[in-house]
């Protein structure tokens, strides 16, 4: 066993370093074992099998197919809905978080925090029901809008279209933005605003020179997380559409269900791997930015 460099400088004799190694790692083994078996193993297997052809030989064909229709559109649409739903929810969510966290009384803040948690997790069939009831053809809000002269169903709109999905996605993206962005607002110390004023800065100056520069990275990070959330959403899209919109999560779901069979049996795995890569492009920068921001956000 190679001697490990461990704090305290254990002598690098075989037996001693084995004990130090175990002491350093052993208590974490149950956790690591569970994560390893139930998480890492499936992911590695996914990646491995995605390179397997039907005859169990190595191939890139699965990935080639992912770049063809209809999967290409699937990725395009999924990325689009991720970006758009994030874009629409980000600024309102940030503004709402600002007013709530900086001016709301404690009980309000806590209630909103809990509510946002529940709402951010809402999806699938229950969410679809709520929107059918509100904005469906027979929906309450639809009727009200019609009364005021706006028939939203006059064109080709329905909740199962891209625009419809976007509106519904907003329902959980907005609370998610509030949850993810609020800590940055909370971390803005009152002393900074006061010091800025004392040094001659108007409110506007404070925001331009101090407030916004500090909040901006967290804002971008939150946007990235919202993108990943919109991109990966399955249940809600599944409940609202009838298969006429190409979205990657739905395509994978179809392949898993057996409702759709592809000639390449491992196509779904390849789709999954590409999903992971796209998601990683958003989530990893999110994590990196949050880590950096933590330096000044420490209370």
């Amino acid at each position: 066993m190679t001697p490990n460099v461990i704090e305290g400088g254990a002598p690098s004799r075989g037996r001693a370093s084995l004990t130090s190694f175990l002491k350093n790692v052993a208590p974490a083994l149950p956790l690591l074992a569970i994560i390893g078996f139930f998480f890492l193993f499936p992911i590695f297997r996914l990646i491995y099998v995605s390179f397997m052809s039907n005859e169990n030989t190595f191939t890139l064909d699965n990935f080639r197919t992912t770049m063809q229709e209809p999967y290409r559109s699937g990725f395009f649409n999924s990325i689009k809905i991720g970006l758009f739903s994030a874009a629409i929810a980000a600024l309102p969510g940030a503004v709402a978080a600002y007013f709530i966290e900086s001016r709301g009384p404690v009980k309000l803040r806590r209630t909103i925090s809990v509510m946002s948690g529940v709402l951010a997790n809402t999806g699938g069939v229950p969410l679809a029901f709520m929107f059918y009831a509100a904005l469906g053809i027979q929906g309450q809000l639809t009727k009200v809008l019609k009364f005021f002269g706006w028939d939203i169903y006059a064109g080709r709109f329905s909740l199962g279209t891209f625009l419809g999905l976007l509106i519904v996605y907003l329902y959980f993206q907005l609370p998610l933005m509030i949850i993810v962005f609020s800590p940055a607002i909370v971390a803005l110390r009152r002393e900074w605003a006061e010091a800025a004023r004392n040094l001659g800065a108007s409110q506007l100056n404070y925001w331009i020179k101090i407030g916004i520069p500090l909040l901006f990275p967290s804002f971008i990070a939150s946007f990235l997380l919202l993108f990943a959330s919109g991109f990966s959403a399955y249940a809600t899209a599944n409940a609202l559409t009838i298969g006429d919109i190409a979205l990657t999560p739905l395509q994978i779901g179809g392949l898993l269900d057996g409702n759709v069979s592809a000639s390449q049996i491992n196509l779904g795995k390849a789709l999954g791997v590409v999903m992971i890569v796209i998601s990683a492009f958003a989530v990893i920068p999110y994590l990196a930015i949050q880590r950096r921001s933590a330096r000044w956000q420490k209370r």
Binding site: N24, L46, R110, M115, V125, F129, M130, S232
Partner: protein, 255 residues
């Protein structure tokens, strides 16, 4: 102290309230319709509760969620306490790994899970709590991490140990009470996530309360709406009540 009416805040709250409650109330209105008799009634709710599968699935989901919470607490609390105390070199590694599930879309994970587990694991619904544990890990880990950071862990542990407590007693009787709010937060997040988990569950062909609701929708849409309402509003009310009742803990010192 500002006593004057805060217009921007009020407007924000009003807009949010409209946005959140219009869909909810619309669906609620649908759910209390009684098409046969005309007018309104609780018929759908009564029907739902009388369905024998209703309680079966609630208990099933509740049980799975409870198991997930149990796994989370038993595995995370001791391990993280140790990580914080021992200054182990693998701590950054574990910190990083705990965030990994955030990177992986649930759909992709479902594909991987489907092809990975041997028969005996796949056949038992007990695979779900462990999978839910993985899904909730980033949030649970972070909540506990913050909690453990905010207490004088080393001092407390040394005090307990020198008074004669062994490791388990120390954790149960000293550490957990001190990080109570973090533990409660972890339990809440893990429980809520497990109860509501749909994607992974349905793609792996398991039945829980959320998947059952989808199934009911094919036969009795109004009934399904009623059930959905219950599954939304009840946790909502319970959590809000808990929040308002809980003693105010000033973690931020706003003078």
């Amino acid at each position: 102290m500002k006593r004057k009416f805060d217009l921007p805040l009020t407007i924000t709250l009003a807009v949010l309230a409209l946005f959140v409650f219009i869909p909810m109330l619309s669906a609620f209105e649908f759910s209390i319709r009684t098409p046969v008799k005309g007018g309104y009634g609780w018929d759908q709710y009564l029907w739902a509760i009388r369905e024998e599968e209703f309680f079966y699935y609630i208990i099933r989901s509740g049980w799975l969620a409870a198991l997930t919470v149990l796994i989370t607490l038993i595995v995370l609390v001791p391990t993280m306490t140790w990580l914080h105390l021992s200054k182990s070199t693998i701590r950054p590694f574990v910190d990083g790994i705990s965030l990994l599930p955030l990177v992986i879309p649930v759909v992709a994970f479902a594909v991987g899970a489907q092809i990975s587990f041997p028969e005996f694991v796949q056949d038992t619904v007990l695979e779900l709590p462990f999978l839910y544990f993985v899904l909730a890990l980033p949030y649970a880990y972070r909540t506990l991490d913050i909690g453990l950071n905010s207490i004088p862990l080393k001092t407390l542990t040394e005090a307990a140990r020198s008074a004669g407590a062994n490791w388990w007693r120390t954790i149960i009787t000293v550490i957990i009470p001190v990080i109570k709010s973090a533990v409660v937060g972890t339990v809440a997040i893990t429980f809520a996530l497990s109860l509501g988990e749909y994607t992974l569950t349905v793609l792996l062909h398991w039945d829980t309360f959320p998947t059952w609701v989808t199934y009911v929708a094919q036969e009795n849409i109004l009934g399904a709406i009623a059930i959905s309402m219950m599954s939304l509003i009840i946790p909502f009310l319970v959590l809000t009540a808990l929040t308002l009742i809980a003693p105010e803990r000033s973690t931020q010192g706003r003078k």
